[in-house]
Symmetry: C2
Subunit: 492 residues, 2 copies
């Protein structure tokens, strides 16, 4: 185990990678039961250590103990258990069996059986803003272990102690489940991170964090002699669009919901709504209500110094932009910043998209006044890749339908009369989006579908029963959904 | 329509791309029935035009009319119809519906519904060696259109006339099915190809061809300001491993099967077995039988001058390599080359892997003598990414099992007592593999699963029924498999 606040040396990284490779085959051949058991043991251990984990996380991230950190820990252990269930259900294996058929067009059909198999050792980059849910035992680690890939975890420097404790719980749980040492290893430091991404032993990468960091690592992964898939989730502006009738009929409710969403967790969420589009004709009461409410909002410490500095820089760039009005300037205090609200017009947003429609990681958002439905649609079309996009509508659903059609081309999740923060961990959840939201728009990093990132298909042709993986044997010994001669079939 | 043997200008490319963008929304919103009908119309039109298409293809590629070109055309139209069926079946949509649940862990579950949607305009690069199956109306085009993505087809310069005729059939069929103009466009020339890959209007790319071409285009796609998925299938060495007991008991049969496979289509297949590993103790009769049979093998013209020159260069590099013996030198004639057989040892292969384990596109293969099972396994482990790997075994299935476990980590398809050429178009087929076989090991370019390359997930949160896509509405109006609150459910 890497000791606290040290940086992994080249030699130590090599040891971790060698261990991952040596665990690869055993982990790939382990049963779904074994891996589900391992994930549940990790979850149990973390729940059991909540009294240690949460205070450590609080001390390292400034995030409130309740409801936030206990809630996030609960979400994290639930995610581990949900993925354990998903692995046992077995759809992720995409087991597909074609029986021999001499009359099959174009030359006959051999016995072909296809399934998804683990891609091999995965490097996972922990995020700063979720010390549990997107960190050492977060969704990426859970998904990779669930499908049988060793994990090399690059810890986030923002919470080294909670990372070390979580890593020791993971290591113990995997051993107790009978999985080989090397199934999980942790490294720290930028040099180790870069070296891991380009190491031939690593077969895929997953990242949650900044656009700059994600793109740098994606470029490294793509420029390898042997490129590997690199799943970077890099944040988003998450525009929210209020139709005129919604603004008129529910303006106060919308203002309150928006305020709650963009200030939640001091705005340190990749799903924070960074832009609220409101009709100019109904904007004033909404803005006034927001400004009044913001006067009461306390300052709070951000995650760490680096985040605080980045926020100050981004906020300063926005407030100094000629097209931006400051509706409410959050006062800085010793504790940290208070939330800030900015304003601009749709015409200015369209004219200065690259400067204004940018993620400002922290408690700031921009109200954008639009003057016509056409301008609203033009604004919707100005986005290229978002994790989420929200529509607040009310009885004007032809416009809403057009808006949603445009937004569903541009965002991984579209919301109706809701707010994007708070991503439920469910079967249907999608946390993805076209670039720049992610580098891999076909895959989600949250929810049961996140397993697919670490799998690759293999077809077995003309293989005797005893040489086939259990998932593909006659009689369906694993009891999983399978496609038989083209027909999706559920286990009896 | 681009006229024959011209190169697409910048202005013409812009017109094609603009048309693709203008077709995007209508194609994305078209029903599965409409798109299935369109694919079937393309298939019918191509079958109806076989009498024109096949002679054109023969004149342009030197491939024999029967059984090859008629067979390939049949395979191509079957592939269009299979993907039409797959689209109607609907599993590719991955429709997943979570109902609201206030008791769901970590804060309750909203109404979330997720499905796969078309990624947008796709650029498809046609291959030289399959003027139908991997060309204008081949698998990539069929898969992209099937899921609702406009296709910009970069034609292969090796068969311009058959490309033009196929393109006109595709265009007419799409129009007859009611799909918008711009759903399909064709361009030619290297400049247009590169410009298309980096154009922001293009959202994904697919390629079948050489390692050099595929990597160049992948690098362009990955280095865009907004990287896009690029699915390049770049060929393979397709090693075949003969265990000692198989060599002793079925040596003659194995020699005959191997010879047929590596000379099929004059070796111009990405699944040609380029290396045959045989036990040194049983190699002589196999090599002798191969050499005797090769004496009877006629010369034949390769696909085109560029391919012939590339083959001559690659063959010359192999025959001049100090570690290579020429077992049979195919005589060059005015018609073209006759098949050549080379030999080396496993020790030399391991020592000179980068020079000897390379794709030589044409009728040449190398017999590799190994001296022990350990050396055989070391050879299997020396590969990193193959489309296929084959084991010929016989009663020595512990060794075979170890070999297959290693090979399934390294190849997209593993075969037992068969040969890799001739990829059946089926539900379970996989035509993929780790780099350098492909740039996207998680996806296949052949078979029903090939649809996933051109899809991305979108989650709809809290959406009223009438604003949802039909695939996600209550009551399952499309009659497709769906996951309901985590449970995979078949249509009644």
């Amino acid at each position: 185990m890497t000791t606290l606040s040290t940086v992994t040396t080249t030699q130590e990284l090599d040891t971790v990678l060698a261990a991952a490779v040596s665990a690869r085959a055993a982990l790939a051949e382990s049963t779904e039961q074994t891996r589900a058991d391992a994930l549940r043991r990790i979850a149990d251990a973390m729940d059991g250590a909540a009294g240690d984990l949460v205070p450590l996380a609080h001390a390292e991230t400034n995030l409130p103990v309740r409801p936030r950190l206990f809630g996030e820990l609960g979400r994290t252990t639930f995610q581990l258990r949900l993925l354990a269930d998903a692995v046992l259900e077995g759809s992720h294996l995409e087991a597909t069996l074609d029986s021999p058929d001499p009359d099959w067009p174009a030359g006959g059909r051999p016995d072909v059986r296809r399934m998804m198999r683990p891609v091999g050792p995965v490097v996972v980059f922990a995020a700063s803003n979720f010390p549990f849910a997107f960190s050492v035992a977060g969704g990426d680690t859970a998904a990779a272990l669930a499908v049988g890939c060793p994990v090399v975890l690059k810890s986030n420097p923002g919470h080294p102690e909670v990372s070390a404790l979580t890593a020791s719980l993971v290591t113990e749980a995997l051993a107790a489940a009978g999985l080989p040492p090397g199934s999980f290893g942790m490294v720290s430091g930028e040099d180790a991170a870069r070296a891991a991404v380009v190491d031939p032993r690593i077969r895929a990468g997953a990242f949650t964090g900044s656009a700059k960091g994600g793109r740098t690592l994606f470029d490294l992964a793509s420029s390898r002699p042997d490129p590997i898939p690199f799943y970077a989730e890099m944040g988003s502006v998450n525009p929210a669009f209020v139709t005129e009738s919604a603004a008129r009929s529910r303006g106060a409710e919308i203002a309150d919901g928006y305020l709650g969403s963009f200030t939640l967790g001091m705005g340190q969420f990749c799903t924070k709504p960074g832009l609220l589009f409101v009709p100019a004709a109904a904007a004033e009461p909404i803005e006034e209500r927001l400004v009044a409410a913001l006067a009461e909002r306390p300052a709070a410490r951000l995650l760490n110094e680096r985040i605080a500095e980045g926020y100050a820089r981004a906020l300063s760039a926005l407030t100094n932009h000629a097209a931006v009005r400051v509706l409410h300037a959050g006062a800085d205090s010793a504790a940290g910043p208070a939330p800030t609200l900015l304003g601009t017009s749709a015409a200015d947003l369209l004219a200065h998209h690259a400067e204004l429609a940018v993620e400002c990681f922290g408690p700031t958002s921009i109200v954008v006044r639009y003057s016509s439905d056409d301008e609203l649609l033009a604004c919707a079309r100005s986005f290229t890749g978002e994790l989420s996009a929200t529509v607040q509508g009310e009885g004007d659903e032809e416009l809403a339908g057009t808006l949603l059609a445009e937004l569903s081309e541009r965002a991984g999740r579209v919301l109706w009369n809701g707010w994007p923060t708070g991503i439920a961990v469910t079967y249907a959840m999608n946390h993805s989006g076209p670039y720049p939201a992610t580098t891999a728009p076909a895959h989600t990093s949250v929810g049961a579908a996140s397993l697919s990132r670490f799998l690759r298909p293999v077809a077995y042709q003309n293989m005797p029963q005893h040489l086939l993986p259990a998932a593909l044997r006659d009689g369906n010994p694993l009891g999983i959904p399978r496609r038989l001669d083209g027909v999706l079939t559920l286990p009896s």
